[in-house]
Symmetry: C2
Subunit: 502 residues, 2 copies
């Protein structure tokens, strides 16, 4: 795979100078155009030590305007990073639309090195690469331009390069003991690199292999590929936006009878008498307090997702759930319209950024499922966007669960009649009127479309590791107890049963 | 001070129920009004263990809508928190405008406990309280409503309370060994509390002492004070916005001759010949690379602030400065218009949130000085706002320096003629035209006003721990070398001299 990068390619100084000024001009004007574009540029640098990754990153910063470039490099994770899933540290550094992110020793680094040093088995290694591909695909699907450069050096060239660097007093700090240790594993490293590149080089985020021996050559190779990539992507995105709209639906498409959904199968008469409710709620809350306390001590985080119809009782249930818990242990994370910072990132970014530290109970009041509910029904997301969201969401949730989090998702269900009754009640109750907006009435008109969206959502995202819990919520008492008891059970499954003294 | 909170005040259950429903309604409607207000509400809970701080916070979350309430409680700082100044963890949790933040075991906690346990001397303790007051004053000046509740229990009542909690299987987890340890220091704790309250209770963030023995009484006391505070503050802010505008300046005020400023005293003929420049730049950069490397290893962070005229060469200087440095060690942080999230916080929030981890070189390309430069000159900040900003900025910088950061501030100065020359050059150089905007020409018209603002800025914020470096930048070569050499010197002062092998 790397023979083509050991050809001894060189660019004479005068050619470099002549070309460089042209490419530089080009990059600067592309960067200006990019600032108004609707996508970020993500550039990954990996490869052989000494092949000029750092120097190339510096050159990009020197040639372009560093104000719209984010250079990110990674060492050992901090404790705050360790308390979240692996990719959290990369999500928090992703460049917003219009910006360029340069990533060094990033998501490829640890998987490759672990495999080189035989810390990880091939199984684990391939699983890690799968994760990387899912991550890159998700960003690319969202419009990101991803360019990956593998900076290569032959074995002899690497040795020579490390020695030259060491001999230069201004550069010697660049060479560490780890570099020499890695050098001794050169052949194995190249094997693993080949596997990595062939597995992750297809699709929307291809690798460019660059011969790293001659600085002028490698600089021109990377910078011209960067310019080329940005130019093509700008053109492709412009063309995409110019394509024709979806045809409007035919009348008969809207007149089809609504298919039966999982929601139709719920027993909506389930209810709890007041006396029974008070007793059961008290018991469930006491148990929950103990479980949450124990989860906090064990560093086990819990993610609760609440979705449901307007007026289905999400807020009231959340308040009953949190009452009596140690305020240090939980946080309600409400999601309405995204902020402008959030809009300039992938739609999952705002959920990643809100992941709390280890041991916390995170309560998402509305969530990433907005993508396949409101954004689908209201047309804020295009069909291809919300359709691929199921897989993206499953990936995301798998990362949470793999990290050891307990994840429970509730759909709070009420019947259409019950919703009407509650809307009317809100209208007439002074301290509830603010809850009822015109939007609620508009959403109600789209009940059937939402019901189909919910059915699809449950079908495609109720996975073994993250099942949906459908809550019959016509009776608030029943719903509240069911939710709290379910959370207790899930925590028990993870942490073991707690005996509540009564 | 606390006798009035040991009276055995009680509210009978039936009175509580009657009043509670009224207050609750009131709070809910106030919370709705608050959502559109231009200030956040910051509620601090402190006091005797067992006096109901946690329960009261829970009750507020139960009675109001938790979606616009942020409950924050603090334990030991994480390593990411330890790598920033003390108040960073509080800044990152501050509620945006329209929201309520409930703070438990927050900025009062450690200073009080350290003093109770005689870990800190009175000197240190008072210094910490001064910091707290500056912090609260800054937020209050920005419009925040700050309410502080001291929840009190007499000595006997505390003992009784801890025993009762321990006996209740559902509550016993609330009582820790630390609580009993603290109980044995009750008298000393009360002494320190008195000092704390009397010192920090004046001005814009007063304390309310609440007798904590009877839950109905203390709940009503806190919640009615909360409602009252929000109502008054909403009215006060509305009245403030309705007050008359500043009178327009008289013509003669604008016709005054411009007073002489520190900038007039600079020797703008300073320059470096090309050959000399290349040599000196090379040396300075080599030294900087070593110093930055050493700072990284020692965990010493460096903050460089770049301010200056349009076209003064900030960008070019920053690029020369960073070229050749390890990309993992530095980050350019450019600041233009704030995002909507940033606009919903205090103006310093966006600088706090951008503080990087220990050992990094942070390069602020424009900074918090925007408050006293562009915001002052363009009238984005009212006179009382930019005038108090000098003190706020000095406090902020003192926190950075106290934390061990190296802070250097550069004003890049060019003459008005030189700026014109550079504007013309930008107009004529294809890859520089984008740099020149209409705004640059508009700013140029206000040269004199800016010059006065710069003079005031230097006068009021060039402190011993954070002096301004005025850079004569008519000659780019001279300016670049001066900046890089200055950074080297400041790092040497901190880290000791490095011998560069030549």
């Amino acid at each position: 795979m790397f023979q083509t990068a050991e050809l001894g390619q060189k660019v004479p100084r005068e050619d470099f100078d002549r070309l460089a000024s042209k490419i530089r001009l080009d990059l600067l004007s592309l960067q200006q155009e990019l600032r108004n574009a609707d996508f970020p540029v993500i550039v990954v640098f990996a490869g052989v030590d000494g092949a000029g990754k750092g120097e190339t990153v510096n050159l990009i910063n020197e040639w372009m305007d560093p104000r719209w470039i984010l250079t990110c490099a990674y060492g050992d994770p901090s404790d705050e990073e360790n308390e979240r899933p692996l990719f959290w540290r990369y999500w928090r550094d992703l460049p917003p639309k219009g910006h360029i992110g340069l990533f060094l020793s990033c998501w490829y680094s640890q998987p490759v090195l672990d495999h080189v040093h035989e810390v990880s088995t091939p199984d684990v290694f391939y699983r890690q690469l799968d994760h990387i591909m899912a991550f890159e695909k998700m960003l690319a699907d969202d419009g990101a331009l991803i360019l990956k450069f593998w900076m290569h050096l032959g074995k002899k060239a690497q040795k020579q390069r490390l020695k030259t660097l060491e001999a230069d007093p201004l550069q010697s700090w660049r060479v560490t003991k780890a570099d020499w240790r890695n050098y001794r594993l050169y052949d194995r490293f190249i094997d693993v690199a080949e596997q990595t590149l062939s597995r992750t080089g297809t699709g929307p985020a291809p690798w460019t292999i660059v011969e790293g021996e001659d600085p002028p050559y490698r600089s021109l190779a990377v910078l011209s590929a960067l310019a080329d990539g940005i130019r093509r992507h700008l053109a492709a995105r412009a063309a995409m936006h110019a394509t024709v709209e979806d045809p409007p639906p035919q009348p008969w498409q809207n007149e089809q009878p609504r298919p039966m959904t999982v929601l139709d199968k719920l027993d909506m008469t389930l209810a709890l008498e007041k006396m029974d409710y008070v007793q059961k709620l008290r018991e469930a809350r006491a148990e929950l307090a103990l479980m949450v306390q124990r989860a906090r001590e064990s560093g086990v985080s819990t993610v609760l997702v609440f979705e449901g119809w307007d007026a289905a009782g999400k807020g009231g249930t959340i308040r009953r759930l949190t009452a009596g818990l140690d305020a240090r242990s939980w946080r309600v994370l409400p999601f309405a319209a995204p902020t402008d910072e959030e809009r300039s990132h992938h739609y999952l970014w705002r959920f990643w950024r809100n992941l709390q530290r280890a041991g916390r109970l995170m309560i998402f009041d509305r969530s990433w499922y907005g993508r396949v509910l409101v954004e689908r029904v209201e047309g804020y997301a295009r069909p291809e966007e919300w359709m691929r969201a199921y897989a993206e969401i499953n990936d995301f949730e798998e990362e949470l669960v793999d990290h050891g989090m307990v994840l429970v998702k509730f759909w709070m269900h009420i019947t259409k009649d019950e919703q009407l009754r509650r809307f009317e009640e809100r209208k007439d109750t002074p301290y509830k009127t603010w809850k009822l907006t015109d939007e609620d009435w508009r959403n109600r008109e789209k009940w059937d479309e939402y019901q189909i969206a919910v059915n699809d959502m449950v079908e495609r995202t109720s996975t073994r590791h993250a099942p949906w819990v459908l809550v019959e919520a016509n009776d608030k008492n029943y719903a509240r107890v069911k939710v709290i008891r379910t959370v207790c059970e899930k925590l028990e499954q993870r942490l073991g049963k707690v005996l509540v003294r009564r």
